[in-house]
Symmetry: C2
Subunit: 229 residues, 2 copies
Amino acid sequence: IIRTENLTKTYRLGETGVKALRGVSINISKGELVSIIGPSGSGKSTLMHLLGCLDTPTSGKYFLEGEDVSKLNDIQLANIRNKKIGFVFQMFNLLPHLTVLDNIILPVVYNAKSNLREAERKAMKLLESVGIEKRAKHLPAQLSGGERQRVAIVRALINDPLIVFADEPTGNLDSKTGLEIIKILKELNEEKGVTEIIVTHDPSITQFTHKIIHIRDGFIEKEIENGHV
Amino acid sequence: IIRTENLTKTYRLGETGVKALRGVSINISKGELVSIIGPSGSGKSTLMHLLGCLDTPTSGKYFLEGEDVSKLNDIQLANIRNKKIGFVFQMFNLLPHLTVLDNIILPVVYNAKSNLREAERKAMKLLESVGIEKRAKHLPAQLSGGERQRVAIVRALINDPLIVFADEPTGNLDSKTGLEIIKILKELNEEKGVTEIIVTHDPSITQFTHKIIHIRDGFIEKEIENGHV
Ligand SMILES: Nc1ncnc2c1ncn2[C@@H]1O[C@H](COP(=O)(O)OP(=O)(O)OP(=O)(O)O)[C@@H](O)[C@H]1O
Ligand SMILES: Nc1ncnc2c1ncn2[C@@H]1O[C@H](COP(=O)(O)OP(=O)(O)OP(=O)(O)O)[C@@H](O)[C@H]1O
Ligand SMILES: [Mg+2]
Ligand SMILES: [Mg+2]
């Protein structure tokens, strides 16, 4: 479902450039559960943003469901994102002026076929599954770090995405709450065949993924098939 | 150095209120290394904000170095913060329009006795110790999550604080980078006697602290002296 050829991403900073990715070629099959691990600054979020169609590579190719999306414009990317992708950002990226509920159903608003009443019902159900249904009408600023992280996760799932990209989804959560999130992600994959790419340094996540991609300094260091899964 | 009596904090939300802290009484000695653990939403950051003089309690008393700071006004609190406290926020709270270096020396600017040239030298040294000296002139948006976290940590240390409050300082860091941060915090405590309160769910931190405070639903569940340390 995902295939990349020699992806590179260089951020221009005035004179210099930061080579965030230096030639990444990976393959991910439909329904696969993949974790990406690596040191801080190694390129994990950058790779996620490219795979999640939030940005385009400096060079190289990215085939999503066989279609070359490497050079699409913003509108085309937004379209794909809305139909196929759910993204949990490392920094949550919740809109401060919208309530928890509105933050979650925002992706639905952009979806032509959407039914808002249905979406609200579904959002409340998902909020309940992560234990914060009582905060639906509150603003992000009124939530704890881990509560905001849970809202970000729910928002990523609201459109029944084909692929979920989660950038350190349990970073701000205690182990118990973290395990609940992991359980949700696991079920989503096992019961609905959702493909999931999870950046993490939480071993309780890597242990249940099919494949672990090790990244370092913008390169893929190694890929490990997880025999136990 | 820190003594609280029945601290409570209730956030008013229209009609209702969220009881974030429900009567917290703790004692922390000078030079002690304390970790605070507990589920997401249990009141950790709220307690840290009160102890770090960023906010005042709804009721109860807080004695910092014997002085009752429970009812000080913003200016008095800011004064204490600037002189005695270093705070690493869970969300980093870096100013987006300032470079990494300027974000770090900002606390120094407010300090009457400060010498900016000296501060810059020191900031660069600290940035080096966390491996991001090359990014000193970049903006937060140009940094990875873990790099921003490291900037937030350096900023908390620039004024040689008496007490350091770190709210999940390794949440966005891979284990190796996390260990480097832990090493820095440890040395600071052992060599300079800095008192440190660290919110975390990272066991590699709790294992080296003198005391572990367990918080749940706004209450202190238990305090454990760490015999090994
Ligand atoms: N500004 C606010 N307004 C209203 N409620 C708040 C506010 N800040 C925090 N709360 C609520 O108070 C409770 C405690 O929040 P706090 O941030 O202290 O938890 P925490 O233990 O740090 O959680 P986490 O581990 O998720 O960061 C939570 O239920 C939270 O939603
Ligand atoms: N917008 C940007 N402009 C310039 N450089 C950037 C930008 N975003 C990221 N970088 C740099 O690219 C490199 C890779 O960043 P990336 O965010 O992908 O790392 P990461 O592996 O996600 O790190 P972390 O684990 O700390 O979140 C880092 O050195 C970072 O500073
Ligand atoms: Mg990242
Ligand atoms: Mg918190």
